[in-house]
Symmetry: C2
Subunit: 220 residues, 2 copies
């Protein structure tokens, strides 16, 4: 199997093409470092963009939600979706406002959502979604029972068609602005990290915070 | 003018309705605390979800981009768009996987994009977009010239129809799981902050990092 992402009209990056990546490993890395995606689909002929958790298994992306959620029901019908995961890494201050930019990593996946009905696949999908959002919880917390499984919808999207873009580094200023030497230029990085765990108010005080929470790293 | 958000079929939050907010001030606060939005629209009948910067002026949201960008040209034609801004505040660990959740603030705005052609409005829009992404840069850096303005497209979306959701606090576990006392429960907060400024390699060493960068707070 090729490790290159397929190139289609809508995944060919036309603007700032120096930022486009075509390695499947870049796509996987961006997805694996994320916590939520933005799922785009049509509901009543209008675009809708939903923030939601997800997980990846090989070249399949899974999202889940309540079977009662209208948007998920729509998506389960095999409609076209677009799933975008974005990491904002910093603000790029240039000498001109025009060249101000951001450093980021983004993956935009196009595909049709498939309703996951096979019990084994659904179980595995819930596991990878859990491992993405709360690694260690699959082993630590109570696993889903039949009623909970029935109330949960899982959708799959093949990672076949995706546009991956990465911007790193400092500003790309015009020569005249660099020579004018009138403004500061550089990057203000954005850092995300976990805070101190906050035990639930109804937890017995004896309950120590388990290692999969205390030792969690960002990104995983 | 009412301070309540309009309620339409698609902005009536049906799932987890306890999280829905209808105060316009909540919408404004979520937008003002963000750096990027996810803009959803149809391109060639397929949904597309684009991460991009934005700014707010009163009850108008502005986004900008290159006039050469296909997606922006499509959106400028008055098509329906959905703009979502999401802040992920923490992971909610419950005793059951089913009740695992996330704390977040999200705003989902529905509307038609309007191409901003009036020169004064375009200038003001670029200013609020700059103030959102890089406050202080409007005064510090070189402002756009005619050529740069012509190469920049600005779109406006009225903040008339929006769904705002906020989840805070600990897990909502089933009584049996709390009584079983077998798993830790609580919240692992997510914190975002600015790192140390990284001056551009071609910046003269004498150039001190200006206060609008060194003193920038997160969120603004």
């Amino acid at each position: 199997m090729t490790r290159q992402l397929s190139t289609t009209d809508r995944t060919t990056v036309r603007r700032g093409s120096a930022k486009a990546r075509t390695e499947r490993s870049d796509l996987h890395a961006i997805l694996d470092a994320g916590l939520i995606c933005h799922l785009g689909l049509l509901v009543d002929d209008s675009p809708r963009v939903l923030p939601t958790g997800y997980g990846r298994s090989g070249d399949t992306l899974y999202v889940h939600g309540s079977t009662g959620a209208r948007s998920l029901r729509e998506a389960a019908g095999g409609v076209e979706v677009c799933v975008t995961v974005t990491h904002l890494d910093g603000i790029v201050y240039a000498r001109s406002l025009f060249h101000h930019s951001v450093n980021y990593r983004s993956a935009m996946i196009h595909g049709r959502a498939r309703d996951v009905v096979d019990a084994d696949e659904k179980w595995r999908a819930l596991r990878v979604i859990t491992d993405q959002l709360a690694p260690g919880s699959w082993e630590h917390a109570r696993q889903p029972n039949k009623r909970e499984l029935a109330a949960t919808a899982v959708l799959a999207v093949d990672l076949a068609e995706a546009a991956v873009k990465i911007r790193t580094g400092g500003p790309s200023d015009d020569v005249e602005d660099v020579e004018a030497d009138k403004a500061w230029a550089g990057v203000l990085p954005l850092r995300t990290q976990w805070g101190a765990p906050e035990p639930s108010a109804d937890l017995p005080p004896k309950f120590e915070v388990p290692p999969h929470v205390t030792e969690r790293e960002y990104p995983a």
